[in-house]
């Protein structure tokens, strides 16, 4: 991810009110994770496993924070049970920014299956999501996804494709 894309995401998150972000990094997310860590307006919690981050974000929401979770799609798939039991069942929002490896533009054959499963699993879980690649879509999509998460008390997702991640 280019630094200006990372900076746009961080600024958009803050503009949308996000003040607490859990992350699990990956090569494509490195600049974003570092930018979140450097921003003093966001409490950054690097986690060891993505579902842990879902639990931390849910707890932070109950305590009045506006949380988001940054992870790759492999981590989203890992978090399905946490999202179902901790967020969707009681009605707790968390904005998810999900890097889409194995999607369009993928070079690594090893990511293809995870890439193909990402959207069907989001749909099966009834999680409303938007796919973002173009720079100008980042800010309004983060604003609107966060708005829906808060009003619906449900997780929402932004799937960042290779265009955004490169």
């Amino acid at each position: 991810m280019k630094r200006e894309v990372a900076a746009e995401i961080v600024d958009s998150l803050k503009e949308a009110g996000v003040d607490f972000v859990a992350t699990l990094t990956e090569a494509n997310l490195h600049d974003l994770v570092m930018a979140i860590g450097e921003d003093t307006a966001i409490h950054h919690v690097p986690v060891t496993r993505e579902e842990e981050g879902i639990g931390i974000c849910a707890g932070a929401y109950l305590g009045g924070k506006k949380p988001a979770m940054v992870m790759m799609n492999a981590g989203f798939l890992l978090s399905a049970n946490a999202l179902a039991t901790v967020c969707i069942h009681p009605g707790i929002p968390v904005l998810m920014l999900i890097g889409h490896s194995g999607g369009v533009g993928e070079e690594n054959a090893g990511h293809a299956t995870v890439g193909a499963l990402t959207e069907p699993v989001l749909q099966a879980m009834h999680i409303v999501y938007e796919k973002v690649g173009r720079f100008e879509d980042i800010r309004p999509t983060i604003h609107d996804s966060q708005m829906l998460a808060r009003s619906s008390r449900r997780p929402t997702a932004i799937v960042l494709n290779k265009q955004a991640l490169r």
Partner: protein, 205 residues
Amino acid sequence: MKRYDCLRAVAPRFGDELVVTNLGAVRHEWQALRPHPGNYHLQNLGLTSSMALGLALALPHRKIVAFDGDGSLLLNLGSLATIANQHPTNLIHIVFDNECYESSRGAPTATAGQADLAAVARGCGFTHVVTAKTLAEFEEGFRRALKSNDLYFILAKVEAGAADVPAAALDSQENKYRFVRYIEQSENLKILTSTLSRASDPHAK
């Protein structure tokens, strides 16, 4: 010592502390002893420590107590590393270690073998770690943790067995709303969004 004995011994010490309980009998036992809107009963095995961390970071001036279990923490050992690195000084992480999956008919967990969760916590960077094998040790550990302004991990080695208490009459959704409304009121926060009906605006066109 049983888990219920520990809970009963410390319940009178609770004021406005916020509590996250693990999946299983502990939620019913705690709700029977201390019915309070500041109890959050998690319906997930594994994330008790992480929910409690999120709460502790969001409300650094409030004491947060997690009633976790060995089966749960073993699913989320990495949370100990994250908690130690974040170092919330208002969190008391209590693990009732009965060395079995009590709510799932009692098959042994890894702590029935070689695993020592207190050693894991120490290795992750917790500096205040207590292993309690008697009720007196548990009460003393909890008293110190409650008084201190630092992160504590208390491993209570307990016998398996749930107390004969009524089922906590709280659906997850109801529990969430009661907890959030309590936080909103006690912390003067607005967490749940609400919107006016457009029809209620006399100036709307």
